[in-house]
Symmetry: none
Subunit: 242 residues, 2 copies
DNA sequence: CACTTCATATAGCGTTGCTATAGGTGCTAG
DNA sequence: CTAGCACCTATAGCAACGCTATATGAAGTG
């Protein structure tokens, strides 16, 4: 299989690199392999991508687009927390389907090289969590929740990739997923947690309000409405936890 | 700084490799650098370790011994779950102290190369969780709990490593840690079920408030008032629990 | 046509991981 | 003391690597 069709060399290089990376099985992929498969000479690669790293970054970016597209294709479904679950599963599946690409994206993260992807992934999850926060289903700030969930999600995916495909146990994923979502959700507040007694539902309400306010471009509010909101909030904050 | 003392070449190689790996800042470390710093010639490296990968494996093994030693040095303390917390923190600290080594250990995990370390780490945590299980503090099987917690632990550590050291927020670690431990512990079972038994009235109020807010298209709220309002909300929603 | 700009190719530099071969070193046996 | 024998190390060099100095072709503009 070669990419010496009519496609522009830049695209051929991208596809060749992606294919070799996907099938390398962890071994290093050389620029010579890539350029040969793309039916292109070495300087072309460097003209378009500057660097081997640059080419790999482009491949990763393309893979990430695909990943994001997969994440966005879910209907909002009205249950934000359920959407988070699907988002998690989709993340894991993406990692298992393209382990090499995933390892380049999340396995070799270094402060100077590649936190952009992580930031994007976090933003994507935070966006979804915002809906949960607006619905009063969140226990903590959406941003913190997103970072925490994503970190666990990446850890689980890496662990599953590390296992031989035969004995992969996806229960690790679902269990960790539900643990994280549960810990972040407001539901647990009604139970007896180690420290949740102090964290009354006021926090939940405040988080929901905060998220709603920031999501609704509310630089346009009448003062009377503001007073109403404050009154509501006061009633909330003084109501005893049921 | 060179290791050309009286130590055997094997040890010199190990130390040189460890030092170069620690200070490389992510850049590749060449065998020539290592052999030069160790004051040794190339074939010596291959005689002792067979491979560059073999040498790195040895360094990783040594680092892992150190890691395990750190984990074991904690007194059992009678509170297994508290020990798990310290274990988690120790893991994160190890990763932040030796990021390069950590990335080699947990960042490049591949099924064919390096699951042994993961298995050891899991066993270590499972051992500790077993005590919690004996004390009736566990909600799930110790092995599953260990795998789940370790996965989240690795994910969090990788995320923290990926961040510039200046803006590392360890709250991500403590929050995820407590979420995982709480989800695994028996405490949560006493509360409400995982599904909506009944939302507290406060949440309902918050949802109603949210609806009112989003329905409003009025204007003329002074930006200072809005700013104050948001600030106040933010203060509430980020107020620490205890 | 001349001129610029972009894209690709030829050839080769310096470095990499690794090794074929050989030379020392310390041992036990005769 | 010498012979042989493992063991360990060094010299020199190969093939492959990432990358580039330089040159050539194609395409658009005056």
């Amino acid at each position: 299989m070669s990419f010496d069709g009519q496609l522009p060399p830049k695209v051929r290089l991208l596809r060749a690199a992606a294919e070799l990376l996907a099938n390398s099985g962890g071994a290093a992929v050389s620029t010579r392999q890539i350029t040969q498969l793309a039916a292109v000479s070495a300087p072309t690669l460097y003209h378009h991508f500057g660097d081997k790293e640059g080419l790999f970054d482009a491949v990763v970016a393309a893979g990430f687009e695909e990943y994001v597209a997969g994440e966005r294709d879910f209907a909002p479904s009205g249950h934000p927390l359920e959407d988070i679950r699907r988002m998690w599963d989709n993340h894991v599946q993406f990692g298992l389907n393209q382990p090499e690409l995933y390892l380049v994206m999340f396995g070799n993260i270094r402060p100077e090289s590649r936190p952009a992807i992580v930031a994007d992934a976090e933003a994507l999850m935070e966006e979804m969590l915002n809906k949960a926060a607006v619905a009063g289903q969140l226990n903590v700030q959406p941003r913190e929740a997103a970072r925490s969930i994503l970190a666990a999600n990446v850890g689980v995916t890496l662990m599953l990739i590390a296992e031989p495909a035969a004995e992969r146990n996806l229960e690790l994923s679902t269990m960790t997923r539900d643990a994280m979502i549960f810990a972040v959700s407001a539901e647990q507040a009604s139970g007896a947690g180690p420290d949740t007694s102090g964290k009354s539902s006021v926090v939940v309400a405040a988080i929901a309000l905060n998220a709603a306010l920031q999501a609704s471009h509310s630089d346009q509010l009448s003062s009377s409405e503001l007073k109403l909101f404050l009154e509501w909030l006061h009633r909330i904050s003084t109501s005893s936890t049921s």
